[in-house]
Symmetry: C2
Subunit: 474 residues, 2 copies
């Protein structure tokens, strides 16, 4: 029959018509078809709002598994459990990608005491050792405190003023920044590099005001980076309430003393995994679109917003796409990265493997800004390709307008950052940021702080973006 | 000196220059000056994020005064306290505008029992009488329950199926609506007119599924409207959890019985007040821009999101404008409306007085959608003037982009609705709607559900909109 068709004039007409249709399709495939795409996007949101799994999954991840710092039993359980869930989802493949991770342990709870100047009781300051910090001796560190609000003060005081002292970084977040991540960026340097900068002048310990806009009693931990040129001194975050109290005390008595006892230590690197599931593309299986969050959390609270939300949303994105009957052209991967918080080993390994195998990465989306109501996506990429990508992305804006999402240039996510060199388009899912730093890296980052619909709308938004990128390419 | 100037050629040149400048100012005053206005808008947001009072005021209103249904002691206290606060704010006038309000009282807590079919215990269903409902006799109402999901079912069953029964309206909110107010609009009719529609066919009582997207055990009260053509039968809302339970019971046993005891009653109208404060305009004091929320709440919880948030935001808008040194051209009024929930008497009185006095109302903004993170403003107005207004409003959009607010057409607010006939531009402040119906009209609408920064950003947004309307007119 095929032969007959090939030799018949009717077929030849048909052939040309076919070519014409294909050509037209290729042309029209470059820009969204507003009506049809709106229907699909709507169906994806409907699906997640009526039949999602992410909220129930988050309950298991936070309540049954709990916090899960790299190298911990919690992290191990989280790997096994998320893989077991992906295994039930009728994906084309699910696997573990090994990577070695730092293994820092807090040990017995830290104790930071504001010592009385005369008689009277010491006051306990709510504190958490910073991730990666060294511990103290059993006797602890006991010294006068010097409050630092600007890096300049450190230089000005120098060795004469800081030798043997505990440096107390007390620069607060700027409340006037509308996006709280900007305010975070404006003071997290104290936490990350404060210890070594103080050690340079002979300080014996560091306390950092928690990176939090509220005045409350939850200390916010987070990673620190030591500069090996200087002594490794112990460093802890204290709650904003404790920081206010300590600061007030120092105004009254500049010779205020504090004692710090911390039992944390860094053990040898431990084996762990990224958890990956994928739906194989029907047309370009060798080209990948990744959506992911990070599976590890800090070792307090439940890692609900940071980043349990991103984990369960990423998993549900694949489920939603399949449930609505969508079969992607490119391969869609959900990647649950290990060790974002204190090493980024998972993200680095994922990129290294992609490069080693010569994989073509079209796009990677990270959700690591909490499970709050969606506000948009930000986009980034390697300079030589980004403007073309972004031009295409802008054509999707109208489809997100009914859902209140804005597509704009901006940062993406720590885990997908290493993929930038592969010339993938990188995107950060950007939910509303007002409440994020209330919970970030604290014992208060628990399941009850996440709102079901807000979480679901995030998953729907990512499913919609992936659908559009998959359909139209970049 | 003036005479000299008038006769001098130098003056004449100066005069023409002056005219030119005035003309140019008049022309340029028609559209925003992006740079200068952005600075002012930024200053307004900075002010509210660093030195607001709204959150502390909300704590007093919710924790010290509590709920405040029209005619109650709580409402009286709220009037006196908000006036006393406005009195400290260095406004040009503060006064009480009298209005008579409905006075409905719940009395002893209602009791709704799901009765066992054989032996066994009755199960208590979490319920709240609807506002305005009649009570039951001391013995209560005890009858079989008929579940209704669509109005059509009611007509179909008719008197034969409904006579002597308790009608149970169980149409849920549609979770696929992105703006939850749309889903609310899609099922609140059951609560508002369900009692009389059931009474028409001889039903003896009504239970309504709470208008809530979550499955939880908080009943949501709200107003009902009786049609005086039919018997006034008692009506209560039951929690979504109770609704699911009752529905399941009816599937097993279609003869399931419920007993309802309610002690509510409507007393004679009581005297009350709108609370009003104003900053007199420097150029057009007889032209008004109003910002307001409603002071009354339902008689459960603390009326935190509904509408304590709107009350304290409206008060803070005036304070922020003054604090930044802004002196408005038009008169800016903060109006705390009484009786939005069950009568709208305050809103009607405010409009009636405006009309009686021939006041020119340029614009009125209502904040009655919760103290959540800002998403935008919606605008409405009398058909003959609205399109011109809206065209001007659209020129402000770019100034709100950095804050994530979208200006669009849409409803405004119940209290300011009666001002529409004065040809004022009406605007509804539109915060994110995802969490609103979790708390709306429940015992769970408490202070701790409101986020300080989200509340403040709302006040900043309204201050910015008022600044622009005041500067450029409409």
């Amino acid at each position: 029959m095929t032969t007959l068709l090939f030799s018949s004039p009717i077929w030849r007409n048909g052939f040309f018509t076919l070519i014409l249709i294909c050509t037209l399709s290729a042309v029209t495939a470059q820009t969204p078809d507003p009506d049809k795409d709106a229907v699909v996007v709507d169906r994806l949101y409907d699906q997640v709002l009526t039949d999602s799994r992410c909220y129930a999954w988050l309950e298991t991840l936070t309540k049954d598994i709990g916090h899960r710092i790299s190298g911990s039993v919690g992290a191990e359980k989280a790997v096994a459990w998320t893989k077991s869930v992906l295994d039930t989802m009728h994906l084309d493949s699910v696997w573990l990608q090994p990577c070695m991770v730092p293994h820092w342990v807090r040990g017995k709870a830290e104790e930071v005491l504001l010592l009385p100047s005369g008689k009277g009781h010491a006051i306990k300051l709510a504190a958490l050792a910073l991730g990666g910090s060294v511990g103290t001796s059993t006797a602890g560190v006991r010294a006068e405190v010097v409050e630092i609000k600007h890096w300049d003060d450190l230089e000005r005081l120098g060795e004469a003023g800081l030798q043997g002292k505990i440096v107390f970084y007390n620069r607060p977040m700027d409340p006037t920044k509308i996006r709280t991540f900007e305010a975070y960026g404006g003071c997290v340097d104290q936490r990350v590099v404060g210890a070594s900068r103080a050690a340079k002048y002979g300080a014996v310990g560091v306390l950092v005001r928690s990176v939090n806009l509220r005045i409350d009693d939850f200390p916010h931990t987070g990673t620190l980076h030591y500069d090996s040129a200087y002594s490794l001194i112990p460093a802890a975050a204290i709650s904003t309430l404790a920081a206010e109290k300590l600061s007030k005390n120092l105004q009254i008595n500049p010779k205020t003393m504090v004692s710090i006892k911390m039992h944390c230590q860094t053990l040898p690197d431990a084996p762990s995994f990224n958890v990956i599931g994928e739906i194989r593309g029907s047309e370009r299986p060798g080209a990948y679109i990744t959506v992911g969050g990070h599976l590890d959390s800090w070792d307090v609270g439940e890692g609900a917003h940071d980043d349990g939300a991103g984990v369960v949303q990423s998993m549900d994105v694949l489920r939603i796409l399949l449930q609505t009957g969508y079969r992607p052209r490119h391969t869609i991967r959900c990647v649950l990265f290990m060790n974002e918080e204190n090493g980024l080993r998972g993200g680095k390994m994922y990129a290294a493997e992609a490069i080693r195998k010569g994989e073509e990465h079209l796009c990677a989306i990270e959700t690591d800004a909490g499970g709050f109501t969606p506000r948009g996506f930000t986009f980034d990429g390697e300079a030589s390709v980004f403007s073309n990508f972004y031009e295409k992305i802008r054509t999707f804006q109208a489809l997100f307008d009914p859902y209140g999402l804005k597509l704009s240039k901006g940062g993406s996510g720590a885990d997908i950052g290493p993929l930038k060199v592969t010339k993938a388009l990188l995107s950060g899912y950007a939910p509303d940021s007002q409440r994020y730093f209330d919970f970030h890296h604290t014992a208060d980052d628990t399941f009850d702080k996440v709102h079901k619909r807000e979480l679901e709308l995030g998953a729907g938004s990512m499913a919609a973006l992936i659908y559009l990128i998959d359909k139209y390419g970049l």
